[in-house]
């Protein structure tokens, strides 16, 4: 198992109001598997992704990445886990505007103090169709190109899991389909495990397995 959650629960409290975003969710994702997590807006799918990615802390329950309970660690180790074992792709790309395509891609390696294997990065950029754009700044790229940079950044560390949050949500349907195809093929080629959050059934068809979230509860299919 690459990812396993145990009774994962997240409750948001705003004054008197209590929102149960995720309730006792148990999910497992095997190595090399591509899982789609689908659900309506406000169903708790983004919360699920955030908790699996270690960027939020659960109210209750556990998340295991490669059998390691990630929330048993403090912030420093959690940050280390994120940069080594998790790759994120966001709907809004979240690229660093001041960095070029190449610099955005190698950013997680730099943060980890690793020597950049330039040929490997260039090959990755090539496979994502970004070889010509490696010196460009994000604001010079189209939405599809920016999302491909975000995918490259997520894949560069060869993470245990790639988490994509509505990766096509900000793209037109053709570009979205292109990006999805690219993401799927690259992941397959690299044997990359991934979880994609979407509300779009078409997106889910690209994945091996589909998990549905409704009112914070997760079920197969």
């Amino acid at each position: 198992m690459v990812v396993r959650t145990e009774n994962l629960t997240k409750i948001y409290k705003t004054g008197e109001t209590e929102v149960r975003a995720l309730v006792s969710a148990n999910v497992t994702i095997s190595r090399g598997e591509a899982v789609a997590i689908i659900g309506a807006s406000g169903s708790g799918k983004s919360t699920m992704l955030h908790l699996m990615g270690g960027i939020d802390r659960p109210t209750d329950g556990k998340v295991f990445i490669e059998n390691e309970d990630i929330y048993s660690h403090g912030d420093e180790t959690l940050a280390l886990l994120r940069r080594r074992r998790i790759g994120f792709v966001f709907q809004m790309y979240n690229l660093m505007p001041q960095l070029t395509v190449y610099e955005n891609v190698v950013l997680p390696l730099g943060l980890d103090g690793r020597i950049v294997d330039r040929p490997r990065v260039e090959a990755l950029l090539e496979s994502l169709g970004l070889a010509e754009k490696h010196k460009s700044l994000p604001n010079r790229l189209s939405g599809g190109q920016q999302q491909r940079v975000a995918i490259a950044r997520a894949l560069v560390t060869q993470p245990a899991i790639l988490l994509a949050d509505e990766p096509t949500g900000n793209l037109d349907s053709k570009t979205g389909a292109d990006v999805l195809n690219l993401l799927r093929s690259t992941a397959q080629r690299l044997g990359q495990t991934m979880a994609v959050i979407t509300h779009d059934e078409k997106v889910a068809q690209f994945c091996d397995r589909v998990l549905r979230i409704e009112d914070g509860a997760v079920r197969e299919g």
Partner: protein, 814 residues
């Protein structure tokens, strides 16, 4: 809802902008009030001392006076009848009083009649308040007083003529300069002057369109007035000329203030707009035009200025008052603190310009916010600059990239703090140097620990009242380690220059002790004299003024240059001996002095009184006596031990008390008083500049916080891809350190450079006591602010960031 109502609503949320405008107004108003007050005081002093006139003519007939006075180019013609001789107060014969009739008394600036009217009847007089004190009467209309009228006989001796009885018909406004110098005038009626021997002088001031030098020459040519009967009022003309140094200095200060203020307001508005992107975008969505959005911003700025400006003007006025009080402590001649509508109007104008400059850029930005930004709540991508690609993105590389990503904003932030720092350090350097040079300033007038100086030459109290007996008594006092007495002899020096005869009374030779003579000989730079050379009593050492003084003479009194150029080793100088007899000057025999050595005036202390532009001659006391010159001394300079200075001073004062014309000055007391007063000024200056610095600091705080606010999503992303909170904190702190370093470097280099330059400028302008003293304390204070504030602000902002989760930081995008 109208846009003006929205602007009004926004302005109530713009406390920081109002505060910045208030601070800027306070500073400008304070500087202007002080500047205008100082300028008015300087002009008034000149007006009072030299008169509100540009030229004067002597030896004119009544008809000529009338014809010249009625010329079209003449704005003011004031006929003075100077009564020959002088008066003394019946009760106090020590001070002489001039009697003058002035046709325009009361109409001339600084000679206004505050009570009553001019003198009409022969026994009527107008007096000033300080003369009333001398006469022992109240400065009131109807008071009566007596004065004894003296006239000089053919031999120049004062001769009592009659006792005069006057009734005060009017009281003049106080003549501060004359009061400070104990110079007295009774303004008599025309009929009184006409009944006594007098000479007439016509003073003219031309209208604004007339060039005074050309006009005065034209009149002189037309009426055949001899050059010696024409005198241009050079001080007055100079006072009305604009000194380029002052203009450059004032322009530089104003430009820095304007730029710093505008930058602060610009940044404050830029930040406010970042906060309100959503609001302006939504306004665009619902149909507001670019023009309307701009107008909304301008209105908001106007409302802010409407509140901040009056507050700032009030605070600036009060601050200026405190500053002037401190300045008055130093100057000796009190300068009134004048609050003029001009200062308020100019301050308001400057602040409105600052505000306009500050709001224009942000208003343009606001008008260009795309509706989509509001809908999606994203910001326009900032303009990014080209730079070299980086292979490996480390923390330091990120810091470097972040620092160069928005050069304009970074420059604005750094500049506003740095400019404040430059202003603070440069002015503090000058104040600090002035305070540190106080000893030099005192040494220019006090050449020992205690200096006793007799009254001036030419007064009734002469000859000098430091007798050999008094000198001996003082030198035997406890604590006196050495006593050097200085005898002086005055000469009249006449030369022909450009076809005219120039006579200067007051060239003097000083007789000094053998010890002092040795120290003077050690400073001789031309010639090789020894004490033996002075066996011939006509041999003297001649002083040569500094290059700076010579430059001044070159411009003001070129005939002095001619006189000084005669001074060379081996030259024989012929002078007329001046003596005092019964209080009158007498020109005696012709004396020839031979110069055996030259010494620079800057190299020797002020051994004798400075009462003539012409440099002095020095010779040993033995030679001085051999010449048969005055046996009393003009000055006695004492060296006292460090202990007992106070007691010795009191004992010296007690011995000198019977002769009130003796001035006893203590180096330590004078220096301490000066240092105390200068410290007061430094505190005021520091407070004022502290306000400027506060502006910069607040701007930096706002910019840093807002910068981090804007970058929340970025920072969230960095955390999401694996950067720890600690590393994010380090990133922000290192950015702060860089800003600190840049601000500190610019402020320190600029401030020290400008401070040094200002000191040199002031030195060149005559403040020759001033030496640049490294401003360690102000520099440390500045570095403390510039070096820590940006770091501290970044650290605080990073700490604040800890309260947000990564999801919240990323939240803007999802």
């Amino acid at each position: 809802m109208k846009l003006s109502a929205l602007a009004k609503k926004n302005f109530t949320q713009s406390k920081s902008i109002i505060f910045m405008i208030a601070l800027a107004s306070m500073l400008v108003c304070c500087v202007l009030n002080l500047g205008i007050s100082a300028q008015i005081s300087i002009v008034e002093n000149i007006l009072e001392f030299t008169g509100d006139n540009q030229v004067k003519y002597k030896n004119l007939t009544e008809d000529e006076i009338s014809r010249i006075s009625n010329r079209s180019e003449v704005a003011l013609a004031d006929v003075h009848y100077y009564v020959e001789g002088f008066a003394v107060a019946a009760a106090d014969a020590s001070a002489s009083i001039e009697m003058i009739y002035s046709s325009e008394l009361g109409n001339v600036a600084n000679f206004r009649i505050t009570n009553g009217r001019g003198a009409r009847a022969v026994n009527e007089a107008v007096i000033s308040p300080h003369l009333a004190v001398l006469l022992g009467v109240e400065p009131k209309v109807g008071e009566e007083f007596e004065a004894v009228y003296y006239l000089f006989d053919e031999d120049g001796n004062a001769m009592e003529i009659e006792t005069l009885r006057f009734v005060v018909s009017g009281v003049l406004q106080e003549q501060r300069m004359y009061a400070a110098m104990n110079i007295y005038h009774i303004y008599v009626s025309k009929s009184f002057a006409e009944r006594h021997e007098h000479h007439a002088v016509l003073f003219l001031r031309f209208n604004n369109r007339t060039e005074p030098r050309a006009a005065s020459q034209r009149i002189a040519d037309e009426f055949g007035i001899a050059p010696e009967d024409t005198a241009l009022n050079e001080d007055y003309l100079r006072a009305n000329l604009n000194d380029p140094t002052v203009i450059i200095f004032a322009s530089a200060v104003s430009a820095i203030l304007l730029a710093a203020g505008a930058l602060v307001i610009y940044n404050a508005y830029s930040l406010a707009i970042v906060r309100k992107v959503h609001q302006y975008g939504l306004l665009t969505v619902i149909g507001a035009s670019k023009r309307q959005i701009k107008r909304c911003l301008y209105l908001e700025a106007l409302f802010c200025a409407g509140v901040g400006l009056p507050l700032g003007l009030l605070a600036g006025t009060l601050f200026g008052f405190a500053g002037m009080e401190a300045l008055n402590g130093i100057s000796g001649i009190p300068m009134p603190y004048v609050v003029t509508p001009l200062a308020f109007a100019a301050s308001a104008l400057v602040v409105l310009i600052m505000t306009w400059l500050g709001v224009t850029g942000p208003a343009r930005k606001a008008s260009l916010i795309a509706p989509v930004e509001a809908v999606r709540f994203i910001e326009t991508e900032e303009q990014l600059y080209k730079r070299r690609a980086i292979e490996n993105i480390t923390l330091n590389a990120l810091v470097k990239i972040n620092m160069s990503r928005s050069k304009k904003r970074l420059a604005g932030t750094v500049l506003s703090l740095s400019l404040s720092g430059v202003l603070f350090l440069s002015f503090s350097s000058v104040a600090f140097s002035m305070r540190g040079s106080a000893g030099n300033l005192v040494a220019q007038s006090i050449a020992g620990d205690i200096v006793i100086t007799a009254g001036e030459f030419g007064t009734i109290s002469n000859p000098h009242s430091i007798t050999p007996g008094l000198t001996e008594a003082i030198s035997e006092l406890d604590g006196v380690e050495s006593a050097a007495a200085f005898a002086v002899q005055y000469f009249a020096d006449c030369i022909e220059y450009n076809g005219e005869t120039f006579t200067t009374n007051g060239q003097k030779a000083a007789g000094v002790s053998a010890d002092i003579m040795r120290s003077i000989l050690n400073k001789v730079y031309d010639g090789n004299p020894t004490l033996d050379d002075f066996d011939d009593p006509i041999n003297v050492i001649a002083e040569i003024p500094s290059v700076r003084t010579m430059d001044f003479y070159e411009r003001s009194n070129p005939e002095y240059i001619e006189k000084i150029n005669r001074h060379s080793v081996g030259a024989k100088i012929t002078l007329d001996l001046l003596t005092v007899s019964d209080g009158n000057w007498e020109m005696g025999e012709t004396v020839t002095l031979r110069i055996v050595g030259l010494v620079r005036a800057d190299d020797i202390p002020p051994y004798v009184m400075y009462d003539s532009y012409l440099p002095k001659f020095y010779l040993p006391q033995k030679s001085f006596e051999a010449n048969g010159w005055e046996s009393n001394y003009e000055r006695l300079i004492l060296t006292v031990g460090e202990s007992g200075g106070g007691e010795t001073l009191r004992a010296v004062e007690a011995l000198c008390a019977p002769a009130p014309e003796l001035a006893v000055q203590s180096f330590a007391a004078y220096r301490d008083e000066l240092v105390r007063q200068m410290t007061g000024v430094i505190i005021i200056v520091t407070l004022m500049l502290g306000v400027v610095a506060l502006n910069g600091v607040m701007n930096l705080v706002g910019t840093t916080y807002m910068g981090i606010e804007r970058r929340k999503r970025e920072l969230g992303t960095l955390m999401a891809v694996g950067m720890s909170r600690k590393a994010v904190g380090k990133l922000l702190t290192r950015e702060g350190i860089w800003i600190s370093a840049i601000c500190s470097l610019i402020s320190a280099a600029g401030g020290l450079g400008a401070g040094f330059g200002l000191c040199r400028l002031m030195y060149g302008a005559g403040a020759d006591y001033l030496e640049f003293i490294f401003p360690l304390l102000p520099l440390a204070a500045l570095l403390l602010v510039t070096g820590t504030v940006p770091c501290a602000v970044s650290m605080l902002a990073a700490k604040k960031l800890k309260s947000s989760t990564i999801v919240e930081l990323l939240g803007n995008s999802v």
